[in-house]
């Protein structure tokens, strides 16, 4: 596991030894974590327990063990007070049927305790903010996937929460829409003073919007900390292109057996993390021993993908 460091001093969310169990499956297994102010990415492969964590923090799921605090309030004893101060953008398509966008968002504002007139005014403002100003009188049932993502953000924002939970905010969006959504998320965190927890398995999304990450795998915290700090791993990363006489997986197995982390990228390049001071020399030695020709080797900068792969691989 990557070395864990405290994220920031003022935590908006903290979990202390939290376990959530679905039958025999432990979705969260003794999780202890802290989420500071600003934008925090919650990373992990599908089924890692990210959504379960958010739903437990919302009070939808009661943990079998442990304690959770959000904005200084205990989730077990003050869930309503907490939900008054947070906004939740669910992962899957979710809306209240039969309403236009402005009715839907204003309705959500009223449900959150805003007076009717204020809720309506905020609904208009927020819909313009998320880029749905022109479509605000359309029935939400007729919206495209990208528009539904935006309106989910609008309903989460209408009551001006102090903390936003965004579960896979770019799901199903086209590249342009995705960029706009990420800019919105970034703007909220950087310029509007809204704290964010962005749950995603899309690493570039998290890297674009967040400064800190918590990496989850199999219901546990695999790594956490500032992205820049996590990238400064003790070791070096190399990009490698090789020609093997047989199956490349055999070569990968040799690398792993020697304590090196490796994963293939989309463009025929293998990224290898060499811990300690071994460097390229160790790679050449292993390749020679395996009868593999090294056609290309280049030192590389560690990315969030390396951090993720390393954390998940070791967990």
């Amino acid at each position: 596991m990557t070395e864990t460091e405290p994220v920031v001093s003022l935590d908006v969310v903290s979990l202390d030894n939290v376990t959530v169990q679905y039958g025999s499956n432990r979705a969260l297994n003794g999780v202890t974590a802290a989420f500071g102010r600003g934008a925090i990415g919650l990373l992990g492969p599908n089924g890692a327990g990210k959504s379960t964590m958010l739903k437990a923090l919302l009070g939808f799921i009661v943990p079998s063990h442990g304690q959770m605090r959000v904005l200084g309030l205990d989730v077990a004893t003050a869930p309503i007070d907490i939900r008054a101060r947070i906004g939740y953008m669910p992962e899957n398509d979710a809306h209240i049927p039969g309403l236009t966008a402005v009715q839907f968002v204003a309705y959500c504002g009223e449900l959150a305790g805003l007076p009717g007139a204020d809720a309506m005014q905020r609904a208009h403002e927020v819909l313009y903010y998320v880029g749905l100003g022109e479509a605000r009188y359309r029935n939400v049932d007729t919206y495209s996937t990208g528009m539904k993502q935006r309106i989910k953000l609008a309903q989460a924002l209408v009551h001006d929460p102090d903390l936003l939970f965004l579960d896979e905010p770019t799901n199903g969006m086209d590249p342009k829409g995705r960029d706009e959504m990420l800019d919105l998320v970034r703007d909220l965190a950087r310029n509007k003073g809204v704290n964010l927890i962005v749950s995603s398995h899309v690493l570039p999304d998290v890297e674009h919007t967040c400064d800190h990450v918590v990496v989850m795998d199999k219901g546990r915290i695999a790594a956490s900390g500032a992205i820049d700090a996590l990238k400064q791993t003790r070791g070096r990363v190399y990009e490698l292109r090789v020609k093997t006489p047989g199956d490349i997986e055999t070569f990968f197995d040799r690398l792993r057996a020697a304590g090196l982390e490796c994963h293939a990228t989309d463009d025929d390049v293998v990224r290898v993390f060499v811990p300690g001071d071994g460097g390229a020399h160790q790679l050449f030695s292993l390749a020679a021993a395996a009868g593999v020709q090294v056609r290309h080797l280049r030192p590389s900068v560690a990315t969030l993908e390396d951090v993720f792969a390393q954390a998940v691989g070791e967990a």
Partner: protein, 278 residues
């Protein structure tokens, strides 16, 4: 900058909590009242009131028409005859109340706001209850008023002083039972048509079984099997008219109360922000 409007502002106004069910109620009522077919149904549901009002007028003004003079049984009969509008309103409105929210994954939107599950259920329940009371309790009470106005005296009202509480209690028993049962069924599926069919099947199937057993046993003591018959039996007790079935009325009342409790348990289990499949 691709952000369409940078003008997002923090909110500095007031917030209040604990009135979310009122928001759900008013929004639901407003949505229904914007539907012309629904308004037509509401008007049709008041036809019996008009017929009864004419009956009361004739009885009050023409001595030859004493045979149609109102009695406690008239009011009991009024509720019996309102069963059809009550059924249609329940199926039309009630079937979709939670089923539609389940289909659109709206429960997690609702429950991520500062409202409890009970507030959500009560908000949904109040929509159906309000319309059902509008076609049962309101016209029945107005009939009492109409009787006084047409007769020009309080004789009937003082002689039948229990009618006002009887109308109120029976309307509440009927509306609570029907609304809770329908809301519970609505929480079981995301398909409102299926829910409507399920409710109709429950009513008619239990009645059919009762009729078969009545023919086999030759006794009406098995009337507790039929949901509608239990309500009728309790209604007869409340209106102090002869009981129509041999089933002891406490048994019928127990079935009505049991149905409400079971519906409550179903709602408690089904209305959650997340569906857990263990």
């Amino acid at each position: 900058m691709p952000i369409h409007d940078q003008g997002y502002k923090r909110y500095g106004g007031t917030r209040s909590h604990g009135r979310a069910w009122v928001v759900i109620f008013t929004t639901g009522v407003r949505a229904m009242m914007s539907n012309r077919k629904w308004i037509a149904l509401m008007i049709l549901s008041w036809i019996q009131f008009i017929v009864r009002a004419v009956q009361f007028y004739i009885a009050a003004n023409f001595s030859q028409a004493a045979i149609v003079a109102p009695s406690a049984a008239t009011f009991r009969d009024f509720f019996d005859k309102q069963d059809l509008p009550v059924f249609i309103v329940t199926v039309w409105l009630g079937a979709a109340l939670i089923a539609q929210d389940r289909r659109a994954n709206a429960l997690q939107i609702y429950l991520s706001k500062p409202l409890t599950r009970i507030e959500y259920i009560f908000g949904k329940l109040s929509i159906l209850m309000a319309f059902l009371l509008f076609i049962t309790w309101v016209p029945a009470i107005l009939l009492l008023v109409v009787q006084v106005v047409f007769a020009g005296n309080f004789q009937f009202l003082t002689a039948n002083a229990y009618l006002f509480p009887a109308i109120t209690v029976y309307a509440l028993v009927e509306v609570v039972m029907v609304s809770m049962a329908m809301l519970a069924l609505s929480s079981l599926s995301a398909n409102s048509r299926f829910v409507g069919i399920l409710y109709a099947a429950l009513i008619f199937f239990s009645d059919a079984i009762y009729n078969v057993l009545r023919m086999v046993t030759g006794s009406t003591s098995v009337s507790w099997i039929s949901l509608g018959n239990n309500l009728a039996q309790v209604g007869d007790v409340i209106f102090r008219v002869p009981l129509r079935y041999e089933t002891p009325w406490p048994v019928s009342l127990a079935v009505v109360v049991g149905l409400v409790i079971v519906s409550g348990i179903i709602l408690e289990r089904r209305v959650r922000g997340v569906e857990i499949v263990a």
